[in-house]
Amino acid sequence: MWLTRPFRERATRLFLGILLAALALVTLLNLAVPAGHPLHVSTYTVTLLGKYLSYALLAVAVDLVWGYLGILSLGHGAFFALGGYAMGMYLMRQIGDRGTYGDPVLPDFMVFLDWDSLPWYWLGFDMAWFAFLMVLLAPGLLALVFGFLAFRSRVTGVYLSIITQAMTFALMLAFFRNEMGFGGNNGLTDFRELLGFDLRSDATRLGLFLATGIALALGYVLCRAIVASKLGRVSVACRDAEARTRFLGYRVERFQLFVFVVSAMLAGLAGALYVPQVGIINPSEFSPIFSIEVVLWVALGGRATLYGAVIGALLVNYAKTVFTGVMPDAWLFALGGMFVLVTVFLPKGIAGLLRLRPWRRAGTSQPTAGEAAT
């Protein structure tokens, strides 16, 4: 059974163990330890950690395509944001008539812009199941169309990276427009409840944190399962020697497309978990710099390891929180410096330092060696 295969790997068991233990510990410290005690984890911190975990899931999605498929996507932020917008639309509809203008159907910004009815693409988002489906389908569909066009014409390497960046840039420009019906510049915000739970209550926030952690665990297992399957082996072959794989009779573009779409859906899921925790989604999530930052998380953690992506996402975002609080000007220096140092001195990232390299055992080649050959 391909889905259970990851559990036989030591790295996966270790990762899941640490993740679940961390989730349990944070829950315990939040609930059982009284506020004011030095070991108490405040709800604010829990939400912050939840945000990091959703980023980590996004990083895992990026690592899946970059580490195992050799596609450097500079546009995964777009899938993340689309998932976030799908969730945001659901949350907007849940506000109902409690908005500033009290319109039972239209969100505040539409009333403000004098719209008299809901645009067709907002229909159905008052139903949770439909919205949650769209969280996966919207980014998945975009990835399907985009990937189909790109892979069919064998756009690879740097070209593909630039095109993905152009895609997210175009979407950012589009979502900034008020006429698009997604709140323009301000995006969607002022959410109140999710599935009937008040988003501002501590219990909901803890629940969201746990849900994100579990989603990360499941996403990780899914990616590991894909990577360890035969399909994953072919993907790695596409990464290392695309032409040779094609000559062996594999339809490279189909493998690329499948993995790309799965990755986009995971990114969408991450976005959907991110939005209720931070309470806002706006077009800046589409900005190219965010997408490329995600790639840095993966590079820092170590690509083609999946757990490295999680480590990288957590570390960089923690550093970002600290830096932007203490000396905001220095953050971009630090970020830029990290990009340079990691790529030049740490090509395998932190995971390379840990020397936990499951691909050795799986018998596939190292991630960077193949790249030089193409």
């Binding site: 970059w66 450097l72 985009f146 066009l149 790109a150 069919r152 014409s153 064998r154 756009v155 390497g157 740097v158 070209y159 990276s161 630039i162 095109i163 960046q165 152009a166 895609m167 840039f169 175009a170 420009l173 589009a174 900034f176 427009r177 190219p288 490329i292 790639v295 840095l296 590079a299 000007d329 971009l332 220096f333 970020l335 830029g336 410096g337 990290m338 990009f339 340079v340 990691v342 790529t343 030049v344 090509p347 960077t368 790249e371 030089a372």
Partner: protein, 533 residues
């Protein structure tokens, strides 16, 4: 000639009153003779005096008439000296001499006599002032004056203008004046006047025709409407040309920004994400040059062409030696590392200079616009940038095609190993190519500083577009970059009017994504082995 005895007696009085020295001076200057007749109570005689001034062609006529119109031309009661009051507030007024226009200290208002005028004279003066410039020596000034008269002709001006037309040598001035008269005739309801106006793009002509097309006289209305349709057609053509010009201008900027990228792309095999920041450095060099040479924006701009090239080239070499050389053969990592460099450079400028935009002065010879006809004028700064881009392109073409360096660059791009085997020092070529590409980015920055604000985000705004140009045109092909850059610029400008700036950009991006389907390696793909690199 009844004026003469009066004039002589006046002169006599003057001599008696103020003594001989002043009289001698006044006699030396013909201006005094022109002004003196104004000192009379009769408005009719004043009118004749004004005529005399106009016909004299004296260079000071305009200032006299303007002063007279504004009540500023005054005569000293005792000395008969004419002065122009600078400011008539308080008890003592600062004045200048009406003949030499030199400072004449202050005079008490009690000592001065205002040369009064009535409404008839005021009308005569206004008409005279309007026609006055038509007597200027410079043809350009006469054309300017004639153009200003369009739509401003009233019955009183018709005769003077006719007189000017008869004596005018320049055909353009005559044409403009005829048009001015025709507008007047049109306003009077004369249908034949339409013929003289058809085909003109002037806004005044159009508004006059517009008014006429709504007139009650059916013949006039029909003639005016058909003339308007004619003009509209011409305007559409002009608008098309203008869009093309703006498109080419935007395209030239894109070419400048992308061409350095294309050069380095070929050699390093990866994309230099810090390219936008090299452009920014070039722009800031222009700014710094202007700070160093205050008051000489033109010279500073010319000097910043080599300076911008050198600064950016130096930065490029540092980037190549410091980062990129360690990432040979890993294009995706190169992309990430150079992105890090771009973040650092941006933040550096924010911290060291300022996060705010800096304004770069446009030198005089670059501001203004070149008027092709009345509906179409090309802004000079864009024209210069367009020319500059073409010059830079030609120079790069020469370097790549005709020099040893170009040959080596092309060899290394095609096959690094083989080139090295043939004795080409690939590392040296890498450094030089990178310096060249970065330097061109600096030049792009110098050019951009004349078109937009210079700020830390300058490079970022252009970088995605330059990538698109390179992707569209095909890597490592300068012609591809030129064609792609110019056509993307034009496409953008053509789409803008009906789609809006943002949507136009989106459409272009989508277009490129689709274009890549058909031609994955750009408009001008590399052929043979290089294509598999």
């Amino acid at each position: 000639m009844r004026m003469l005895p009066r004039f002589l007696s006046g002169l006599l009085c003057l001599c008696l009153l103020c003594g001989l020295p002043l009289a001698a001076q006044a006699q030396d200057d013909p201006g005094q003779a022109l002004l003196d007749p104004l000192a009379t109570a009769s408005y009719a005689e004043k009118g004749e005096a004004i005529e005399a001034i106009i016909e004299s062609g004296d260079a000071r006529s305009r200032r006299w008439l303007e002063a007279l119109l504004g009540g500023k031309l005054q005569r000293h009661k005792d000395t008969g000296r004419f002065v122009v009051v600078v400011e008539n507030r308080g008890r003592n007024w600062p004045v200048v001499d009406a003949l030499s226009f030199e400072d004449a200290g202050e005079m008490s208002r009690r000592e001065l006599d205002r040369i009064g005028i009535n409404n008839a004279l005021r009308g005569q003066l206004q008409g005279a002032l309007a026609v006055l410039d038509l007597h200027a020596d410079e043809v350009r000034e006469r054309r300017e004056a004639a153009r200003a008269l369009l739509g401003d002709v009233d019955a009183g001006l018709v005769e003077p203008i006719r007189a000017v037309i008869d004596g005018e040598e320049d055909a353009e001035v005559r044409r403009l004046l005829e048009q001015a008269l025709a507008i007047h005739r049109l306003e009077e309801g004369e249908a034949a006047a339409v013929d003289a106006l058809s085909g003109s793009l002037n806004a005044q002509v159009r508004s006059a025709l517009n008014a006429a097309s709504r007139s009650e006289d059916p013949e006039l209305a029909a003639a005016a409407t058909s003339a308007l349709a004619d003009i509209e057609q011409k305007m559409t053509l002009n608008r098309g040309l203008e869009t093309l010009y703006f498109g080419l201008s935007l395209g030239s900027v894109l070419v400048l920004a992308a061409i350095g990228l294309a050069i380095t792309f070929g050699v390093m095999g990866g994309i230099n994400m810090a390219h936008g920041e090299l452009i920014m450095l070039g722009a800031y060099t222009t700014w710094a040059m202007q700070q160093l040479l205050p008051g000489q924006p033109g010279l500073a701009l010319l000097l910043s062409i080599p300076a911008g090239f050198l600064v950016a080239a130096l930065a490029g070499v540092v980037i190549e030696r410091g980062v990129i050389q360690f990432l040979k053969g890993r294009p995706l990592e190169t992309l990430l590392a150079t992105f890090g460099v771009s973040l650092i450079l941006q933040q550096l400028v924010r911290t060291v200079i300022s996060p705010q935009n800096r304004s770069v002065v446009t030198p005089e010879w670059m501001s203004g616009s070149l008027m092709l006809n009345e509906g179409l004028s090309l802004t000079l700064n864009r024209l210069y940038v367009l020319g500059f881009a073409l010059v830079v392109f030609a120079a790069l073409m020469l370097v790549m095609r005709r020099t040893r360096l170009g040959l080596e660059v092309r060899a290394v791009t095609q096959n690094r190993g083989m080139a090295r085997a043939m004795g080409i020092r690939a590392t040296r070529v890498d450094i030089l190519t990178f310096a060249l590409g970065a330097g061109v980015a600096g030049l792009a920055g110098v050019a951009l500083s004349q078109l937009t604000n210079v700020g830390p985000n300058l490079g970022q705004n252009y970088i995605i577009d330059s990538f698109m140009v390179v992707v569209f045109g095909g890597v490592g092909n300068l012609w591809g970059t030129l064609v792609a850059g110019l056509s993307l610029g034009v496409i953008n400008q053509v789409l803008e009017p009906w789609a809006g700036a943002v949507l136009a950009k989106i459409v272009v991006l989508v277009f490129i994504i689709l274009f890549i389907q058909k031609r994955p390696r750009g408009l001008f793909p590399q052929k043979g082995r290089a294509a598999e690199g």
